[in-house]
């Protein structure tokens, strides 16, 4: 079943609700949703209802932490930079951690990511935001990409 038919059959709100928290809504699928909404709003009364449901779903807590809402999953600040997964400061901390990992890899000879993150969390030199990112990555290993 194509995405378009699924959305039409299920309704937008259910479609969003059924999508996994960690699965990303691609830009094309988002565009499709918007097109359908605009079509529906022209054609029938249900369209407005669906648009309302869509917006409510986007604004819900669950949607806030998903990339669709474009807010940082750690502090709920807006994400400014294109292609970033976190707010500016958490993104910087994330990049620092990634960079540090390559140095740790050379230093200790391929440590496990989880060991590295745990160790980083414990060190007193680690900054607060870097610690937050390390904790988040430990809880969400899929975010380590």
């Amino acid at each position: 079943m194509s995405e378009k038919t699924r959305i039409e059959k299920m309704g937008i709100a259910e479609y969003i609700a059924s999508s996994n928290r960690d699965s990303l809504l691609t830009l094309t699928s988002l565009q499709k949703i918007v097109t359908i909404i605009s079509k529906n709003s022209k054609n029938n009364r249900d369209g407005k209802e669906q648009e309302f449901l869509f917006q409510r779903a986007v604004l819900s807590d669950r949607a806030r932490s998903s990339p669709l809402s474009m807010t940082c999953p750690l502090c709920h600040e807006e994400i400014d930079a294109a292609g970033a997964d976190y707010c500016a400061s958490h993104q910087r901390a994330f990049e620092n951690i990634k960079r540090a990992f390559s140095t740790w890899t050379v230093a200790y000879g391929s440590p496990r990511v989880s060991d590295f993150l745990e160790q980083v969390q414990k060190l007193p030199q680690t900054g607060l935001k870097a610690k937050e990112i390390a904790r988040f990555l430990l809880e969400n290993p899929l975010r380590w990409k």
Binding site: D80, S89, V106, Y108, T126, G127, K129, A130
Partner: protein, 718 residues
Amino acid sequence: MIQTLIVCEKPDAAARVARALDEDGDPRRVDTQGVPYYEARRRQETIIVCSALGHLYSIDSKGDTPHRYYPIWDYRWEPRHLIDKKSARLSRWIQTISSLARNADRFVNACDYDVEGSLIGYTILRYACSDAHAKAQRMKFSTMTEKELQTAYKSVFPQLDYSQVEAGRCRHELDWLYGINLSRLLTESALKQNRGYSTLSTGRVQGPTLKFVVQREEEIQCFTPTPFWTIKATIQHEDETYSLDYEKEKIPTLAEATRIAVDCKNALLEVANIETKTIQQPPPYPFDLSTLQSEAYGHFGYTPSRTLALAGSLYLDALISYPRTSSQKLPPDIGYSEILRGIAARAEYRSLVSKLTNRTSLRPTQGPRQDSAHPAIYPTGESPKRRLLHHEANLLDLIIKRFMATFAESSLLERTKLILRKDQHSFFLEGSKLLRDGWIEFYRPYSSEPDQKLPDLRVGEKVLIKKIDAVEKFTEPPSRYNPSSLLRKMEDENLGTKATRAEIIEILYWRGYIKDIRIQATPVAVKIIGILDRYCPMITDSGFTSQLETQMEEIRSGNATRREILANTLDRLRPVMLHLISKEESLGSQLAETVATQRKTNATFGHPCPSCGSRLMIIRSRTSGKRFIGCAGYAKGCRFTLPLPQFGSLTITRKSCKVCGFQLITARSGRRRMISCPRCYSNKARQTAKIISAVKSIRISSSDSKSLLEGAPLVQDK
């Protein structure tokens, strides 16, 4: 008889000028409505010396603009008492000066010879003395000694230093336009969100300075350490243990560090080479203000603003030259020998001075920085007329010793490096010996003397490694700014002036944007800088502010006019303001949330409630309006409370009470600051209450007994 009116910057300065210019050195002090001025006699002249109290005039918006309105582009100079209610007493000052000006034939500005001093004198002469600025003269001096004041009066400049006046006006007007518009916008946009009032400010210099702190904070917060290893090795020679440095300071991998440690364990190191170098250390430059502030912070821990205040009071006592200088040069006309003779009058410096005066010529080291208005800071050689405070004495000692050190010869240091080898591994042992004290002798205890002994080893000799370890270490985040290093950064980036930098840092503390001596940016500061960076990066751009500073220097040197610079700046500021106003709601919602969170954090104690373990907070009673410490567990039935001082603004410090361990609080009212422990205070108050009630009961019983036993001694009499 001619009557001359001399305007000084401060009452102390006025007293000194009057004493120096009076024929008998004893001018008459007159007090009108609590405003002092002095009458001095000099040949056929009566000299009236009056003083300001800093700036008597300031900038305010033109017309009846509402207090919270923005943007404002029209302004005028007004008496400060009309702008700021706290400056009400200045109205008497202006009245007195105006009445004195009516009888004066000649006017002289004797305020400090810099941008601020020139402007203070100019505004007084123009507005309080009915445009007397046009015919006024200018006295220029760098010390408050009688001799220099008399010379300055004799060779008074025929007119005011208009280039400095214009530069000062431009600085004040620009600062006002920036400050009032941006600060009102920030404060009002947050206030409109109905989350409570909080003064938020930024400015032309404040914004970029705060950005340095915020940037450093971000670096620290996002820092991830990386590992490295160092080799810690020791050798023993003739019962002395020496630590060796490995050739590589940092070893990047564990494997390599372990290999080195294993290879060199119990190894015999051979002395491969001994390198000796003689280093000449030239004497330090004379003090300019920022170097003085930096040295005073390093040796005594005085903040830059405190150093400036202490130096100001030493200057007014004619003990040192004008401190607000950026010069590192001591011209010969200050009279080196005379100053040194004066210093020698104090026993503790006598022997040092004699060592200097025995030399054929006196020539100080000169630094690269220049200031057209004043020389570097130097002692006048006069002895203190009053007992100096401990901090003042410290600073004076530092200035005197630095002055003497600049005349001394270079010091000679011998650095020796022993190179010890084992196969491909090299270790170093470094030591140094002072061959000639030179200036270090004059600058003790403020000079560092690295004297490290080395073992008596020769090339080819072998020595056993006693202990060797590979020590795991992690990289450290960049260090936080302290008031002194932040001031240095401002100076490097050409932000503000030598006179205003310390004050800007104080304002950042006062506004709650930064805290602690190792400066930490608060969430509000991070938010404000984030918003300004996002919507108007120009405001926080140090390059732009520095460019303005350069332009103002150009006014001072006569290469630009105030009008040009004001017009150019307004052309850039106007669109920025309009853009910000269009984003007002978004700005406000972001700011209000952070402000509310910070307010809550600032009012919450880290120490839990001793009764129920909940959070303790500063609460204001709705009925009495009084504040106290209350427990967040009130709803659950906890009634724990502690009293608080009812004056000034309260801050919960990070320090704990040495007696009970409770968090200390600071109550600040004006310049008064009180640090106390609410819990000990409460216990003490209870004990005092008990004692008072006990005494009362005794008094009652004694008065009863008195009525019973006539003539019996009263308890309270005892």
